[in-house]
């Protein structure tokens, strides 16, 4: 291992600007002559739209007004399908669906206009629960309210379940919707010019998603659409697909107004209208031998996609692939369905379907352990995948994994055995209301796009040498708080053999950077980071080939490098290294059979939660949390630990605090007042450790962003089960819900 920047906790690149308040987010920007946009939305979940009336007392002639007939192109949000309109034209399919857009030079007047618009609606029956959707009395999508169904199987599940020598354990597990609740609300500023086209700046994760949506809407050549990411105050998936809608809305308003238009959502609008984590329900039927060996798993995984298809098939597929976990099992059958309801579309959120299915499986394993009288950690250890074995969808593990070491480390750090015994002794002897418990979850998370996704994306990243001898990173990957800028600079500096100060990372701007794919799926460091390493190597090679740089991959004297670049640029217009994604050799995914190599690599983890439960109030306090993971080589330990800590806190919120209350398809608690995320006094200390890479010190890095979302909820509920003997099966588990579980367990 060379002495480089990768592996060191260099400070965050934009850290100084962030701590001094200098960083400009979208609402901090202003353009000359800028107007302010607002969105008129549906107050009901489902209705026929009979008409739109502009009320009295508003100077409508001063407004730019855009309805479905005023769009420059198809009335479609360009995603996987084309079912979602940018503006509802005749049928409204979910609460808060956009219907009309207004812009005015004055923010307050724009608001007045919005309040004065009346929608004439004829109510239609809505589907406001998974059960209603599955029953199919009211059909809101296709023929049967099913957006997508995947099935995969190996072995003979039915025969294994019928084997008289196994115990069959069955259970149903549910998870609720979750709001991303990034602290910066969503927003965009758009400009339109008949000659130059469309320019949009805003808070977003995926510049080229927005770009594609605008190209399709404006029917312009790609170079006439420009998307620039502004500093983004958190995303967590919430700024993956929805910004395309806001950008399109702002852009059509700008076109109509003849002025730049800023469209910023207020918090309530953001919570009500933008996407949330898919609610889920998983049915497990498992055949297990008395010694704990898993024999067969029959899994039925359902997610609520909301009113339009959006990204639900991809969320579904990731959830399905993770639904059997990092365990060996000969017979596995998975049926997975994304269901249509009249809820606002659910979408990307850190983990992307995996937290839901991992929750179900890990909960189910604790139920099995209790049934068999086994230690939950021992049950897991017995079934953990070994190198050369296959996952549920038939992916052979080629990496020399040692998941038992990950589990052992988590158990050691959390003093699992001592505390388990101590808690049990305490619980037996106490006559007070407090009970203590400790729970574990072991899991994996596939990094990068599922299946052939990365091949289809064919991402490109570039590194450009400047005349002053510095390098500029050209990638569409966005910094949204997770550390992209810093990690990229570290990777490129090492590949170039230059000091960190010689590397610059530009703000993603589609006019400047190539399409290196979206900033999602824990792919930035692993996929795009690798591209940048290759691009940098190729740039070095160019200089070597020109005889300007000596051979070798080690450090370069910056002055030598600067001179080499200067000489090269004397004869050439520019000096760039470029790399395009190439799948690792031997990777193949069969989408139709839903089998094969689902991900190029997996991160592996074992998390332990130590809790106190108050039997009378049914409150759960997480006293200690240990998160151990193997993620390949860690590029920046401090930033990486920050990702894990933040993800664990979000998952604690999902498990114990955060409940999206839908009433008649409408979010009943769309404020930070009543949708409550944990505060500093509600969040426990979180202990994070990264294992030495299975592939050694020079191992490639794996994605980590989503991983910490998967384990905490099941670990916490397992600890509650250990503490109380009751078996909670659903989250969010607020005290009022746990109280019922405890009561049922008593009776």
């Amino acid at each position: 291992m060379q002495d480089g920047f990768v592996g060191r906790s260099v400070p965050r690149r934009e850290g100084h600007d962030k701590v001094t308040g200098a960083t400009a987010y979208v609402d901090d920007l202003s353009l000359p002559g800028m107007w302010h946009g607002v969105t008129v939305r549906s107050p009901v979940a489902r209705a026929r739209l009979l008409g739109v009336e502009l009320g009295e007392g508003v100077p409508w002639h001063e407004f730019a007004i855009v309805g479905p007939d005023d769009l420059p192109g198809p009335n479609v949000v360009k995603l996987i399908d084309t079912d979602q309109p940018l503006l509802a034209a005749d049928e409204i399919r979910h609460c808060d669906e956009p219907v009309l857009l207004l812009a005015h030079p004055d923010r307050a007047m724009a608001e007045r206009g919005r309040a004065a618009v009346r929608l004439r609606l004829e109510p239609l029956p809505a589907v406001t629960s998974l059960d209603d959707a599955l029953r199919g009395d009211v059909v809101v999508w296709g023929r049967d309210n099913v957006f997508r169904e995947y099935r995969t199987a190996k072995g003979d599940v039915d025969a294994a379940l019928a084997d008289p020598d196994v115990v069959v354990v069955e259970g149903v597990y549910e998870t609720g919707a979750q709001e991303q609740m990034y602290i910066e609300p969503q927003g965009m500023i758009a400009q339109f010019d008949a000659e130059r086209g469309v320019t949009v700046r805003g808070s977003l994760q995926c510049p080229y998603y927005v770009h594609a949506a605008l190209v399709a809407l404006f029917q312009l050549p790609p170079q006439q659409v420009r998307v620039i990411q502004t500093a983004t105050g958190g995303g967590f998936g919430g700024k993956e697909e929805y910004p395309s809608v806001i950008a399109a809305h702002a852009a059509v308003l700008a076109r109509k107004a003849g002025h730049p238009v800023k469209l910023i959502y207020d918090r309530v609008e953001d919570v009500r209208a933008t996407t949330k984590r898919h609610p889920s329900r998983t049915h497990h039927r498992t055949a297990v031998r008395r010694d704990g060996t898993l024999v067969a798993m029959d899994i039925d995984f359902i997610i609520d996609g909301g009113a339009y298809l959006t990204l639900s098939p991809v969320v579904l597929s990731r959830g399905a692939i993770h639904s059997a976990g990092p365990y060996r099992c000969e017979h596995v059958r998975i049926r997975a369905r994304a269901i249509a309801t009249s809820h606002p579309p659910h979408g990307a959120f850190r983990g992307f379907g995996a937290p839901q299915s991992v929750f179900a499986l890990e909960r189910h394993l604790d139920v099995i352990a209790a049934r068999l009288g086994l230690d939950p950690a021992a049950l897991r250890r017995k079934n953990l995948l070994q190198p050369g074995e296959q996952t549920a969808v038939g992916q052979v593990v080629r990496e020399p994994i040692a998941l038992d070491r990950v589990l052992d480390r988590a158990l050691a750090l959390s003093h699992w055995h001592e505390r388990r015994a101590a808690h049990e002794a305490f619980n037996r002897s106490t006559d007070g209301p407090l009970r203590r418990g400790i729970g574990v979850a072991t899991f994996m998370h596939g990094a990068g796009f599922t299946g052939a996704g990365e091949v289809h994306l064919a991402s490109v990243a570039q590194v450009q040498a400047e005349r002053d001898g510095t390098l500029t990173v050209l990638a569409a990957s966005t910094e949204i708080g997770q550390g992209t800028n810093t990690v990229f600079a570290q990777i490129v500096a090492d590949a170039a053999g230059l000091p960190l100060s010689r590397v610059r990372v530009g703000q993603p701007d589609t006019a400047v950077v190539p399409d290196s794919g979206p900033t999602v799926a824990s792919r930035t460091t692993m996929v795009v980071g690798t591209l940048l390493r290759r691009a940098t190597a190729s740039l070095r090679q160019t200089l070597r080939d020109a005889g300007l740089l000596p051979a070798g991959t080690g450090p370069v004297d910056p002055e030598v490098f600067t001179q080499a670049v200067a000489r090269y640029l004397a004869d050439h217009e520019q000096l760039r290294g470029e790399a395009r994604y190439e799948p690792p050799p031997g990777i193949a995914w069969d989408e139709k059979a839903f089998r094969g190599d689902a991900y190029a690599s997996y991160a592996w983890a074992a998390y332990v939660a130590d809790v106190t439960v108050d039997l009378r109030t049914a409150e759960v306090r997480v006293d200690d949390f240990v998160a151990v993971q193997e993620v390949g080589r860690v590029v920046n330990p401090v930033l990486a630990a920050g990702q894990i800590e933040g993800g664990v806190a979000q998952a604690i919120g999902w498990a114990l605090f955060e409940q999206v209350v839908y009433r008649d398809g409408r979010v009943a608690n769309p404020q930070m007042t009543n949708y409550i995320i944990p505060t500093a006094v509600d969040t426990p200390p979180i202990r994070v450790e990264f294992m030495p890479p299975f592939l050694g010190d020079d191992a490639p890095s794996k994605g980590i962003g989503e991983l910490p979302m998967d384990g905490p909820a099941p670990a916490i509920l397992a600890a509650v089960q250990h503490a109380t003997g009751a078996v909670p099966t659903a989250i969010p588990m607020l005290p009022e819900q746990l109280a019922q579980v405890l009561q049922e367990a008593q009776s």
């Binding site: 906790s9 400070p11 965050r12 934009e14 850290g15 100084h16 600007d17 962030k18 701590v19 001094t20 308040g21 200098a22 960083t23 400009a24 987010y25 609402d27 901090d28 991303q180 609740m181 990034y182 602290i183 910066e184 609300p185 500093a231 983004t232 105050g233 958190g234 995303g235 967590f236 207020d266 918090r267 949204i480 708080g481 997770q482 550390g483 401090v638 930033l639 630990a641 920050g642 800590e645 933040g646 993800g647 664990v648 806190a649 979000q650 404020q671 930070m672 007042t673 995320i677 505060t679 500093a680 006094v681 969040t683 200390p685 979180i686």
Partner: protein, 162 residues
């Protein structure tokens, strides 16, 4: 109904400031959109998130729930002023940078102003629990608070050294 604007005179980040404001403008609106002090953020509009926290006469308050006219004659300090007061970068800001306590950075200005008020009030090294209590009105969605607490504790130690 629009009431006539009036002249608001106060001190902002150590400078005497006079600005014409409508009576229904919040301090946050005036700071951000009239004085171009964009460091203070708007996250929720109604006191739930703390991203707009500024100090009024040294006390951390929510700018989104403070009428601008209510700071007449008072001293307002924003995150921009925190650094200026220390000649560029305040030790607390430096600690946030070193500990990676700012991920997306959107809650950071508000948290810094609440944390600074704590450190100036107690004038000694603080405990993690004291930091948690002092920051219990500021939401962060990125960090799980761990590194924020580390940074404030670290800064308090450095600031307490003679």
């Amino acid at each position: 109904m629009t009431a006539p604007v009036r002249l608001l005179q106060c001190t902002v980040n150590g400078r005497a400031t006079a600005v014409a404001v409508a009576p229904h403008r919040t301090l946050l609106e005036v700071l951000r959109y009239q004085l171009d002090l964009i460091g203070s953020k708007q996250g929720c509009d109604k006191g739930d998130c703390g991203a707009c926290t500024v100090q009024v006469d040294g006390v951390p308050k929510l700018a989104c729930l403070t009428l601008a006219v209510a700071v007449e004659g008072r001293e307002v300090t924003t995150v921009e002023g925190l650094g200026e007061r220390a000649g560029g970068c305040h030790p607390l800001q430096d600690a946030f940078d070193r500990h990676d306590a700012a991920q997306c950075g959107f809650c950071t200005p508000g948290i810094l102003m609440a944390a600074d008020a704590l450190l100036r009030r107690v004038q000694r090294p603080v405990t993690p629990d004291e930091v948690r209590a002092a920051l219990a009105g500021n939401l962060c969605r990125c960090t799980g608070y761990t590194k924020i607490i580390d940074a404030v504790v670290d800064a308090s130690r450095r600031l307490s050294q003679p």
